[in-house]
């Protein structure tokens, strides 16, 4: 057996992002633009694949990965964590050969499968059976392999009754279950997984996590990207932390998770502060910032399950508003609302909030949310009058459980919430 399954040396990936649009102020400029546009467009499109030397430092180039080095031994299960935009997905895409590195080298020893999404290539007009074959071959299985595992795949998915029905008649949950079952039956030596476990209902997530654990125990090398710290913790032995395209930490998974949760790494994610131009507003109203804070006033984006936290919303009122209220929702990664809460205590007939700058604080009690990732949607309205700012998801929050007591639970419990219920058992046999 080779000494390494994956070896990454000085890996860098450069992307060119879109050019900024220039504003046209006169009709002459607009007309000139029509004629000059094709040439400009051509340059812009051509530059997507060409990096001229003199443009090397131009603003539209970003380094999604910069000088990454690590070696993974066969059988290791690695969790890759980091904020959005840290380069996790790019790293996975380079390792999966979807996109190519700008510099550096990767060596992969063994058969590789990557799961960046479940159900890639599913076609709604084809039946479940046909999609299993199509998706399976897309993932790199041979027809023979699928023939052999077909019953197991269908059995695992729990949709055997509808296997000859076109997938367009499936519920989204059924589709995901079937797709995941195909993926779960891959037998690669190296498995690369991106956040796919965030799909499906909790029971199915648990089952999938169990399946993954089984895979990793069979000596497979697994590289696993997730925001779900509970899942990373229960599956992985080693963690890799990425920050701004660079390797920030590589080591024991508990240490890396702690560094991610406590370090400054997350402070940028636990808050949104709008600059003057992009304040979500209408003429009389605007949101200034939204922040997540611990009870001690520290900005974070990930909280322990038994830790309460606060959401601070700053906003400004330019014209007096009647019956202004805030509505806030917690939404799961599936898009289900877990609960909604309203700032409406002062609302009564004729209540008016005067112009000024305000800060609203919403306290979320401990032991309420499950160890999942939630999105926070915030909207402003005047019930009975108008919507001031339509609800929008501004922030994500990770609830994590790193306590020893729950080690036997694979990831999250069933259901969107996890309140701490009091239990007692007494012996009543006598």
């Amino acid at each position: 057996m080779p000494s390494h399954a994956i070896k990454v040396e000085n890996l860098s990936k450069r992307y060119r992002i879109g050019f900024e649009q220039q504003r046209k102020d006169s009709l002459a400029e607009v007309i000139f633009d029509w004629f000059s546009k094709p040439i400009k467009n051509y340059r812009r499109l051509r530059n997507l694949t060409q990096f001229d030397q003199q443009l090397e430092d131009s603003q539209d180039i970003i380094w999604a990965l910069k000088d990454i080095n690590f070696t993974i031994h066969p059988g290791e299960v690695i969790g890759v964590i980091g904020n959005n935009g840290a380069g996790k997905s790019t790293l996975l895409k380079v390792l999966s050969r979807i996109t190519y590195p700008t510099n550096g080298k990767v060596e992969l020893n063994g058969r590789v499968s990557s799961l960046l999404e479940v159900g890639t290539g599913f076609h709604p007009e084809l039946t479940g059976r046909e999609n299993v074959y199509l998706n399976g071959t897309i993932l790199g299985m041979t027809k023979k392999e699928i023939d052999r595992k077909f019953d197991e795949i269908v059995g695992f998915s729990g949709v055997s009754k509808f296997i000859d029905t076109p997938v367009k008649f499936y519920s989204s949950g059924m589709r995901v279950r079937l797709a995941f079952s195909v993926a779960a039956h891959l037998e690669p030596e190296i498995l690369l997984i991106d956040e796919v476990l965030s799909v499906g209902d909790a029971a199915f997530q648990r089952k999938s996590l169990g399946k993954m654990e089984e895979v990793s125990k069979r000596g497979r090398t697994v590289l696993f990207v997730s925001h779900n710290m509970g899942a990373i913790r229960s599956l992985c032995t080693r963690g890799i932390l990425l920050k701004d395209g660079q390797l920030a930490m590589d080591g024991d998974v508990d240490q890396v998770i702690n560094a991610y949760l406590t370090g400054n790494e997350v402070s940028a994610e636990g808050k949104v502060i709008f600059s003057e131009q992009d304040i979500p507003d209408d003429n009389e109203f605007g949101i200034l910032s939204v922040e997540l804070l611990t009870l001690t006033g520290e900005v974070k984006s990930a909280f322990q399950i038994d830790e309460g936290f606060e959401i601070h919303i700053k906003y400004k009122i330019i014209e007096p508003v009647k019956n202004q209220r805030i509505n806030l929702r917690f939404i799961t990664s599936l898009g289900e609302t877990v609960f909604a809460t309203y700032e409406d205590a002062q609302i009564r007939e004729g209540f008016i909030r005067e112009p000024g700058t305000y800060k609203a604080i919403c306290q979320i009690p401990p032991n309420l949310l499950n160890n999942l990732t939630y999105r926070i949607r915030i909207g402003f309205d005047s019930p009975g009058y108008k919507v001031l700012i339509p609800g929008k998801e501004y922030l994500g929050v990770d609830i994590v459980d790193t306590s020893e007591g729950y080690r036997y639970a694979d990831g999250a419990f069933d259901g969107p919430i996890r309140p701490k219920a009091e239990w007692s058992v007494e012996d009543i046999s006598s």
């Binding site: 190519y100 590195p101 992969l108 084809l126 199509l134 071959t137 897309i138 027809k143």
Partner: protein, 280 residues
């Protein structure tokens, strides 16, 4: 450790693409089941939820033939070299319809498979090649109708009918070669896709579909034959209808062009392949 894996693979990813093979047939062979299922998906879903289903594969060339026969055969009286205009034009429409429809769908194939390109690795060449294979089904169906028409008009094919497989290969190489060019260009420059659809329609007039090559002045025929479909269509007519001698010069030039299209298309496709996911 003593255990050695028989089908052990070492994959090296680096920015250098010079050492890659022009076409990695071995890898395509590994992914042959995917190739098969993609071809089969296209066939199966193309006419899904339609009443006539595969009947549409017949309607297109048959209705073109009817319209051409009325306009060019009966009204404009285009010379059909001694055979009924209907069969004269249909013999050309069978290869032409294959060529235009497989090239059109090959040139849009990468854009349509954007979702696959950005999510999973597989030999990218499978994408433009699979419609070229898939449209052979439609081609086969229209070939059967052509045989029916030949019976109806009592046309007896020549011995050169044995050459038909060669013409099919030339036409597939051309469609695949031009398809690789167009689809690799159009994933970066979307104009190419719109332009290609239009250009392919116009190209029908640059091929001997509604008229015979004999109306082209002798000295321009060599240039005309740079379009490989000229040799293919005239070859079909010479073999099946016997209206003319086998045009070896046209077929020779066309075949060389087809090979040039295919090789240059594969070369360009390979050089752009690594950017597909980034520009898709």
């Amino acid at each position: 450790m003593t255990a050695t894996n028989v089908d052990h693979q070492l994959i090296i990813i680096d920015p250098d693409d010079k050492k890659n093979k022009l076409i990695n047939w071995q890898e395509i062979w590994q992914y042959r089941d995917l190739f098969f299922f993609l071809v089969w998906r296209d066939i199966k879903t193309r006419y899904a939820q339609s009443v006539l289903g595969v009947g549409w594969a017949i309607i297109q060339p048959v209705f073109s033939m009817i319209v051409f026969t009325i306009i060019f055969g009966n009204l404009a009286r285009v010379d059909s070299e001694g055979v009924p205009y209907a069969i004269f034009s249909f013999t050309a429409l069978v290869p032409w319809t294959f060529f235009s429809s497989s090239l059109t769908s090959a040139s849009g194939s990468l854009i349509n498979s954007k979702n696959l390109l950005t999510k999973i690795y597989f030999p990218r060449l499978v994408i433009p090649l699979s419609p070229v294979i898939g449209k052979l089904i439609d081609f086969g169906i229209s070939l059967l109708i052509l045989i029916g028409l030949m019976f109806w008009y009592g046309v007896i094919p020549t011995i050169w009918t044995l050459m038909i497989p060669v013409f099919i290969i030339v036409m597939m190489l051309t469609a695949a070669g031009a398809g690789m060019w167009l689809t690799a260009l159009s994933i970066q420059y979307r104009d190419i896709r719109y332009g290609a659809e239009f250009f392919i329609q116009l190209l029908m007039y640059g091929s001997p579909v509604i008229y015979a090559t004999s109306i082209i002045p002798e000295k321009y025929q060599i240039i005309y034959a740079l379009n490989p479909m000229v040799g293919v269509i005239e070859g079909f007519r010479a073999a099946l209808l016997g209206t003319r001698a086998m045009p070896w010069n046209l077929i020779g030039i066309g075949s060389l062009m087809a090979i040039a299209f295919f090789l240059s298309g594969a070369l360009y496709f390979r050089s752009m392949e690594r950017y597909f996911a980034d520009v898709a």
